[in-house]
């Protein structure tokens, strides 16, 4: 039960943070290309989901599952997106992402006078805190095969 990787996008769609813990498949394209592909897919997925939804409630995609991984999306009201790939059975990923937003992002990025809103996050303290929060969450136990 592990977390594979995590992407954070700002409201313009640029990747402001990426971290990976375990990735079996080597990257077939550069990180920038992959992040743009993922963002484009999320955008299309959101609009597809709004069209096909049987009720009028427009809550947005929460997660999707394939046979090998599960992708969870947490979007804040300010259009900041946290995207996390975990294995299929990982519990509580949504809560983990919410915690990451409130306890790590808000504390160490928003309240950091040196972090500009649209730029990639370079703060070491943020990286350390994010890593710690992810490792402590129930979605991340010992690395499984």
């Amino acid at each position: 039960m592990t977390v594979y990787n995590l992407y954070i996008y700002n409201r313009a769609g640029t990747l402001i943070y990426y971290q990976e813990w375990s990735r079996k498949k080597p990257m077939t394209m550069s990180l920038e290309e992959e992040s743009r592909l993922l963002y484009g897919m999320l955008f299309s997925l959101k609009s597809f989901s709004n069209r096909i939804s049987p009720l009028d409630v427009q809550e947005g995609v929460q997660c999707y599952t394939t046979n090998k991984y599960k992708m969870t999306l947490f979007e804040t009201p300010t259009s900041l997106k946290f995207v996390c790939n975990t294995d299929v059975n990982a519990p509580g990923v949504n809560e983990m992402l919410q915690k990451l937003y409130t306890q790590v992002y808000v504390e160490y990025v928003i309240r950091n006078p040196e972090c500009k809103p649209a730029e990639p996050i370079t703060s070491e303290l943020f990286k350390a805190k994010l890593d710690e929060t992810v490792r402590m969450s129930p979605a991340f136990s010992s690395k499984a095969a």
Binding site: S22, M41, S44, F48, I52, L55, Q62, K68, D87
Partner: protein, 136 residues
């Protein structure tokens, strides 16, 4: 519609809420939109040899996708509490093989217009709804 509600002679009225039925074009459009998303999900996987999207979850519905070995996809939009959708999709695949593919008048890739297929699909859906588990 307000006039109908205010007029006491019309009571009792039964109101049924549902979403406006999608036109056939819209359905084709949405299905075509889903196809590349399914493929991209398999490409973006951090694990080797992942399939495409099997379950897409939101707060109000779940979309299940079953892809056969020939690339035909069966999509089902269900309530999040519904169980047994995988079995239902497999049952639909069986019905497709029986009533569409074995029908000599059916041409591949065209919309399926076969009454027997429709009846059997409807009864499979009803039994899935009643039991929560597809009764195959």
């Amino acid at each position: 519609m307000h006039r109908v509600l205010e007029d006491p002679e019309q009571y009792p009225i039964s109101l049924k809420f549902g979403w406006p039925k999608l036109s056939t074009n819209e359905k084709i459009f949405l299905a075509s939109m889903f196809y590349p998303l399914f493929a991209i999900a398999s490409q973006l996987s951090p694990e080797p040899r992942s399939s495409g999207i099997q379950v897409l979850e939101t707060a109000s519905y779940q979309l299940h996708c079953f892809q056969t070995l020939t690339g035909v996809k069966f999509l089902a939009v269900v309530d999040p509490r519904q169980t047994g959708v995988e079995a239902l999709l497999r049952r639909l695949h069986e019905l497709y093989a029986d009533f569409a593919l074995k029908n000599p008048f059916y041409s591949l890739e065209m919309p399926i217009r076969c009454e027997l297929f429709d009846t059997h699909v409807r009864s499979a859906l009803e039994s899935a709804e009643k039991l929560g588990v597809a009764n195959v």
